[in-house]
Symmetry: none
Subunit: 408 residues, 2 copies
């Protein structure tokens, strides 16, 4: 009977000392007896998801946590943006980041962000989504504000094309050019899509209303930054493992899916501040019964970091602790827990930073050190020292005896 | 006068907390005043021989300790298997792992392991060892049970050949095929050796006796996994150093030899549990007089780990301590000691694991930290942090002022 791996990743939990909290981090300020129990009984350390001082995106951080070198598999943001807006992305799909923009009759760009449009993009996107051209399936979905994602699906697509966005107003919408012989089809489809977007959007009711209200029309789509979704080997192919994931956020769910995890839907797990953390932890414990690895992402702390709200972040850490109490109470004997974050989101920066995250590994026989609390400062003195994101899975595979000896 | 380097590697000494030892590791449980003295007066840390979570073999670990990236120089197990059975291996030699197998008259494989033969293989191997074909010298030696090693020596050999083992019973012995133009000679020699092995072994007295006793004859050799011994630059060429090694185990001795170390024979240094550790340490101290670097491998702890015997492993650690007391008593002023292990072999796993090993560096002027004991847990809080195996030699070269400035 092989042991199991549970990864609990508290999104953006890492922070820096906050003056108003008596120079403690939100995590240090939170009542967290259960998190501390895992640290006290486990082996602790700090972890740079990518490398020291590198600010991880949620996408690259999760790729690293799943054992992939993001510098090798992160081939452009397009496919990950697509996942972020909730599109299904499959290996081989080419995706492009897009802007809703305003052009005049001669296709000169008046505003690259269509007057920073905020409403109506869902309707506009719906009019463009689901098309086929030269055998390529074309999908489009709106993102936040003026942003959107274009996704192409067919065998043999290449992302080696130039941008359809001159990044400058007053210029004409450029034709996309192939930069490699095998990218000719991709370029033709993108150009056809841009033409079609203008044809459909220019008289769309949403834009008529905008013009009537004195706003700029979102009458064309400008695509850029084409990327292809790499073929990532599955957990089964890599390690003979069955893996499941619990996450509320579309981007994280998407990455879990493309690495071959089953993404479990948990009622109340929203990915927002209101997320039901208890339900997530309970679902993870249940999923451990018939999976080799279970991954849980709890998003709420990151949102507080982006808002610069250390008070709510402290409260969120205490809520995470309470949920983890359910796991502590019935910790399965055959399981090794990795408790960490995917990056720091310090309230003073309001964005991801390269600060390392606290890590605790808990389970039978780990080298318990004398760290007594789970936080950014105490864990740095733990027995694991300072690890990289891609190391963590390897260490967990080793603890559960899934690794091969290198040599004899 | 340049300072000297002494590396003492306690094979497989690293472990995990053992419940029966009060949740201490065998090393933590051992009476070890001298090991502790080195830690207390030195700089401590933990070390991943290859990388976190990677299980090192003894071969790859020692390559790393000697400053070679095993991912670059470890080109197949054959040559290292040859060293492991005590064959002399030179750069350019091609070696193959082999099975003694049973075939019928039509060269169909009846048993890939010759009835798991245990005795008589030394005699059979002797009948095959020492031959020459097309100018290639051919050596063969038995390993444990049904295993053996074939070694070819000549200029211009290539290991790019297919296996002579179909890895399946009921099939014919396949001819080895070259996979590159320069491997034609190697393939011909291996094929000739396999034919010859059948011709010689089929009527060998050992096999006649086996057949008479109702056992399967070991009447052919099946070679696989060809590898070439890389040309490793010598200590002299790399650093202008004279290096000597003291080790009981054939594989470690072999690696020391191919890196250009003089392997010193020490009476009573067996590589087993009965090894005379005092004699090894005394010999090392003597060798320091006319060498720049002396390497000592003490094997016994690894054997206890493989046996899952934490009691004997604790006793072995205490014996290592006693032997190291001789060094402590007369520690040479001009020497820097690195005290570590080549990997962990936890009693609960009974095999090498990726757990890091404790490291202490002792010598004039090192940055003494507040670590008071030499063990897996305490050293993790030391001033060296967490290093890689290939880092250690570099650090020792730097302490002894043998490194060049990178830049100006």
């Amino acid at each position: 009977m092989v042991d199991k791996i549970l990864m609990v990743i508290c999104d953006g939990l890492g922070d820096r000392p906050v003056e108003a909290l008596g120079h403690k981090t939100p995590l240090q300020s939170a009542f967290r007896p259960h998190l501390n129990n895992f640290a006290m009984g486990g082996a602790c350390g700090i972890m740079d998801l990518i490398a020291p001082g590198i600010r991880p995106g949620s996408d690259t951080a999760h790729l690293a946590l799943f054992g992939f070198d993001p510098y090798k598999v992160y081939t452009g943001r397009g496919p990950f943006e697509a996942m972020g807006v909730g599109m299904e992305v499959r290996p081989g799909d080419v995706a492009l980041r897009c802007n809703f923009a305003s052009v005049d009759d001669k296709l000169s760009i008046v505003d690259r962000r269509a007057g920073r449009i905020k409403e109506g993009t869902a309707e506009l996107a719906k009019a463009l989504d689901g098309w086929e051209y030269e055998g390529v399936k074309v999908y489009f979905k709106e993102g936040t504000e003026h942003r959107g994602v274009l996704l192409l699906r067919a065998p043999g697509l290449s992302p080696a094309i130039s941008d359809g966005d001159p990044h400058e107003e007053g210029r004409k919408v450029p034709l996309v050019e192939p930069r490699a012989p095998d990218a000719a089809l991709t370029a033709r489809v993108v150009n056809a899509f841009v033409s079609r977007s203008h044809a459909i959007l220019k008289d769309h009711p949403v834009n008529r209303q905008r013009v009537a209200a004195g706003l700029r029309p979102a009458n064309i789509i400008l695509p850029r930054g084409a990327g292809i979704m790499p073929h990532l080997p599955s957990w089964k192919d890599r390690f003979g493992m069955k893996a499941a994931a619990i996450a509320g956020v579309a981007l994280v769910k998407g990455i879990c899916r493309v690495t071959g995890m089953e993404v479990l839907e948990v009622k109340g797990a929203t990915g927002g501040l209101d997320t039901d953390m208890n339900a997530k932890v309970e679902a993870a414990m249940k999923a451990l019964r018939d999976n080799d690895l279970v991954f849980v992402n709890i998003k709420a702390a990151d949102l507080c970091g982006h808002d610069g709200d250390h008070k709510t972040k402290t409260a969120v850490a205490a809520r995470i602790d309470k949920a983890m109490g359910l796991l502590w109470k019935d910790f399965p004997e055959d399981t090794y827990l990795a408790l960490a974050a995917d990056h720091s989101t310090p309230c003073c920066v309001k964005d991801h930073t390269g600060d390392p995250v606290p890590l605790a590994i808990f389970g039978r026989g780990v080298r318990t050190d004398d760290v007594k609390t789970y936080d950014e400062i105490a864990c740095a003195r733990g027995g694991l020292g300072r690890l990289r994101g891609t190391d963590l899975l390897q260490v967990m595979l080793d603890l559960t005896e899934r690794t091969e000896k290198f040599g004899a």
